[in-house]
Amino acid sequence: MTGVAFWVFGVAAVVAGWRVFRTDSMVRATFLLLASFLNVGAILLLLGGAYLGMALLFMMTVEMTVMVIFMVAFMMNPAGLNPMNMTHQPRLAAVAGWAAFAGGAAVAWRSNFPDRPLPAGKAVIAELGTELMGRSMLMFETAGVALVATMIGAVVLSSRRSRYGQDAGDDGSLPPVLDPATGAYPAGVLPEPEASGHGHHGGHS
């Protein structure tokens, strides 16, 4: 029964991962990625990692929710109402993908891994807790510090009030165009030609 469930989840994860890059709707792409993650979380639960599977479900859901907001904000075709193709170097990407899969599959098939299965009845959650708070506290704290540094870095990178002063984060940036095909702006949006320095490519950011 668990064998069948494992293959169902595994195939669903792979198919969902493939459809992420083949669907036109960006919102669907995000939630297909979420579906792939949920299936991997289910597999981890089947393998016996109780906390790992649940934490994966939780974290990935929140991350995909944040991602869908960014998708709709920045992508050109969020609802997939028009077909589009936004790929580049397709052959290189396909070759690299297949090579990675072939390499991993070769390792999975031919290697002699030690056969030490998870003992039944092991208190995996309690062990994870004591490991995180005990012997591997340094790793845990480093991850925490890295996350704080990331938070600060992300805010600095994206804040309007960058380190150059109030509103300096917007230097060189322009409001979104009205018509991407012609690059036309709504009337009155751009400053007069005499006042502005450079054109669109306002220096290096």
Binding site: L33, F37, M59, H204
Partner: protein, 101 residues
């Protein structure tokens, strides 16, 4: 449900992620490719922990750290998307080559 099967699925996810990360023009889709790769890594780590490491707690720690890496990658990636969009009004990787000169 053996170690080989789980590692096969993990390699498939990793390969799909690499294909997406290299082939997509949009930075957000590239992020999703990287996420798929880390997804594969987490599955492989969890499978090795359950089948080849006898439930050693450091195996679970590896998966937890991979989750933290994923969070870091997403946060910085989205900040970069915002910064690039402000400068160029599109979130494409085309033309992001100032360091190459």
């Amino acid at each position: 449900m053996s170690l080989t099967a789980a590692l096969l699925i993990a390699s498939a996810l990793f390969g799909l992620g690499l294909w997406g990360a290299l082939g997509q023009q949009s930075i957000v889709m590239l992020l999703m490719g990287i996420e798929l790769m880390i997804n594969g890594v987490m599955l492989a780590g969890g499978a090795m922990w359950a089948y080849a490491a006898g439930g050693e707690p450091k195996g679970q720690l590896l998966v937890v750290i991979a989750m933290a890496v994923m969070a870091v990658e997403m946060a910085v990636g989205f900040a970069i998307v915002v910064a690039v969009y402000r400068a160029r009004q599109v979130d494409l990787t085309e033309g992001l080559d100032s360091l190459a000169r």
